[in-house]
């Protein structure tokens, strides 16, 4: 039977989870913008607004310590960070484009070596997705195979209903167990879902785009596409599935930490060597790598497209590069 939950009950449920010691991450007001951040009370939950950054930092923080070192009489000692100590987390209010992203990243974080930082957080997090009832000009989930009501990647999925409140569906076993545990917050009965958002985007021919990429590594179009790119990396930092990172040591000879932090293949020094050799020395090579990685390499390697159509790169590009226009131009090529 369909379950429903009122908005007030949803907020109360978050309060209870917080009281039980879970970490609850949700869209919340952060100054003038909305970001996914840990909340301290259910009242802070902001529903139905796309946060400025994606939810990937719930699993893959902007910067995290992966080991620490310190010098004693016997030399430098290295200590591992205990990934087992990550807190149980509820990620709530993620639109389909954000909820679907972590599952896409599972592939790269476990393909040859298990990345315990990412995978432990995945294991300990329940994702409560939320259907979108509004889309803006930049939204294009429908172009890359998702939809505003797609529950892919969610453990539980909320659909807004007429008159307030949400339909609440368990998507995974983890979600079902969660629903059973907190059944007292739910009500039964029928409710009419609000019409979901309708992004204007039409489905892209992802297979055709991949074919073109396959044989057009040296197309003059790359120059054209990347002409304006300033290499600022905003697209990569805001993207729910971009996952390049850098590793740096911070500290002194006697004490310090090794940190993993987000990086972007669009940065000029991303592939630069100390010798001065830089395999991707100009911006169009870097832009090409971005598109190739998302629509060809990740497909070849893991059978998935590295894009969920959230539109953040479109909204935030300072020089107005629209990835949809690039893909549509590619798609129009024979």
């Amino acid at each position: 039977m369909t379950k429903t939950i009122t908005e007030q009950k949803l907020r109360s449920l978050m309060d209870l989870l917080l009281k039980e010691g879970r970490r609850v991450v949700a869209p919340r007001q952060a100054g003038s913008i909305v970001l996914y951040e840990p909340i301290d009370s259910g009242e802070q939950l902001v529903l139905g607004i796309m946060p400025r950054r994606s939810a990937k930092e719930t699993f893959f923080p902007l910067c995290e310590t992966i080991l620490t070192y310190g010098k004693d009489g016997n030399g430098v000692m290295v200590s591992d960070v205990d990934a087992g100590a990550f807190p149980e987390t509820i990620l709530v209010g993620a639109p389909p484009c954000d909820a679907a992203a972590p599952a896409v990243l599972d592939a790269v974080f476990s393909w040859d070596y298990n990345d315990e930082f990412f995978l432990e957080r995945r294991k300990k997090t329940i994702i409560i997705g939320l259907a979108c009832t509004a889309a803006d000009d930049a939204c294009f989930c429908t172009a890359v195979g998702l939809s505003p009501r797609d529950d892919k990647g969610s453990d539980l999925f909320l659909t807004p209903v007429a008159g307030g409140g949400y339909l609440c569906d368990a998507v995974t076993k983890k979600g079902k167990v969660f629903l059973d545990t907190y059944a007292s917050f739910l009500a039964g009965g029928e409710a009419k879902p609000l019409p979901s958002a309708e992004p204007a985007a039409t489905p892209l021919d992802l297979a055709g785009i991949k074919d073109w990429l396959e044989s057009n590594f040296e197309s003059p179009l790359w120059q054209e596409f990347a002409d304006r790119c300033a290499g600022c990396g905003a697209c990569a930092f805001l993207c729910p599935v971009c996952h390049c990172f850098d590793i740096v040591d911070e500290g002194t000879e006697t004490k310090g930490a090794r940190r993993k932090s987000w990086d972007a293949c669009g940065f000029g020094k991303f592939t630069n060597h100390a010798s001065g050799h830089n395999p991707r020395d100009i911006q169009n090579k870097r832009y090409r790598n971005r598109i190739m990685h998302k629509f060809k390499y990740y497909q070849d390697k893991f059978g998935q497209t590295l894009c969920t159509g959230c539109g953040r790169c479109v909204r935030s590009c300072p020089v107005g590069i629209d990835i949809r226009a690039v893909l549509e131009e590619i798609q129009a090529k024979p």
């Binding site: 080991l67 070192y69 010098k71 030399g75 430098v76 290295v78 591992d80 790269v108 974080f109 393909w111 040859d112 070596y113 990345d115 590594f217 040296e218 996952h243 390049c244 990172f245 850098d246 590793i247 740096v248 040591d249 500290g251 002194t252 000879e253 006697t254 310090g256 090794r258 990086d263 293949c265 991303f270 592939t271 630069n272 060597h273 100390a274 010798s275 050799h277 395999p279 991707r280 090579k285 790598n289 190739m292 990685h293 060809k296 390499y297 070849d300 390697k301």
Partner: protein
């Protein structure tokens, strides 16, 4: 593979050139040293406390003693820090990473090792392996090019190995000072020139190349002219390996990753990837 960096003490350091130091490291704990091994051409991540981590290929072969030998040019901030260390100081090591040279596949074949400058490092390791298992391989030719005679590192060691291992050893430099009799101490020319005079049966030969980026394009062309199949030209690539585990994406070469699929690639795997060489 060592996942969390382990300490290694610096047993010895000696200058090979004003900006290049040879390091001999000893892994710290008995358990690690006895389980530690690598294939020539693989790389290690070496950390200097306070500076960070950078990838290096060992110049030696792994023994059961946990000794790692490196040749490090002072080029960036990690290597600059490494150059300030002294015997008895510690660095940290994780790895090995990557594939290394396909030594099994190379058995029974004639081998041409072509090193340019500091590209000697993984090929010195490979040559040590070949000499140790000499009877498994056909004729071996080692060609080594550098800017000038003083930049031919490890020359004596290589010559000694060549002697004991029945290996044809050839060196060339771009320029060399003349001695009082008006002669130079070395052949003058580029690496591809050395290949011109060699007797090669390309269908039963492998070429293994490591050197500065500019070397690859001209050598590949020369080797192909000599009849080498693209899959028999093995190139060790330099990329900015950060994680070593196939996810940070710094070392991506097209859809391959230098830290997992490389750093040794047959030319056939690279030829369609602009910028790979």
């Amino acid at each position: 593979m060592i996942e969390t960096p382990v300490p290694a003490v610096i047993l010895a350091m000696k200058p090979l050139a004003p900006d290049i130091l040879f390091f001999s490291l000893q892994l710290d704990t008995g358990t690690v040293s006895s389980n530690f091994s690598f294939v020539p051409g693989q790389f290690l991540q070496i950390s200097a406390a306070g500076a960070g981590e950078a990838p290096f290929s060992p110049v030696n072969l792994p023994g059961d003693d946990g000794v790692i030998e490196l040749c490090i040019r002072k080029a960036g901030h990690v290597t600059a820090k490494l150059h300030t260390l002294q015997t008895g100081d510690y660095v940290h090591v994780r790895g090995p990473f990557g594939n290394g040279f396909p030594v099994k596949q190379m058995e029974g074949q004639d081998l041409f090792l072509l090193a340019g400058g500091l590209g000697i490092v993984p090929l010195h390791s490979l040559l040590s392996y070949l000499v140790m298992h000499r009877q498994r391989f056909g004729a071996i030719t080692f060609m080594y090019g550098a800017k000038e005679p003083s930049a031919l590192f490890l020359r004596q060691e290589l010559q000694d190995m060549a002697c004991t291992g029945n290996i044809k050893f050839m060196v060339t430099v771009e320029f060399a000072p003349e001695d009082e009799t008006g002669k130079t101490s070395c052949n003058i020319g580029l690496l591809p020139d050395l290949l011109q005079g060699a007797i090669i049966t390309a269908e039963r030969s492998y070429a293994a190349v490591c050197g500065p980026p500019a070397l690859y394009k001209c050598l590949v062309g020369e080797l192909k002219t000599l009849g080498f199949k693209e899959e028999r030209i093995l190139l060790s690539l330099e990329r900015r390996m950060k994680c070593g585990l196939g996810r940070c994406a710094h070392c991506a070469v097209g859809q391959d990753l230098c830290c997992i699929d490389g750093p040794v690639f047959p030319y056939s795997a690279l030829k369609g990837i602009e910028g790979a060489l």
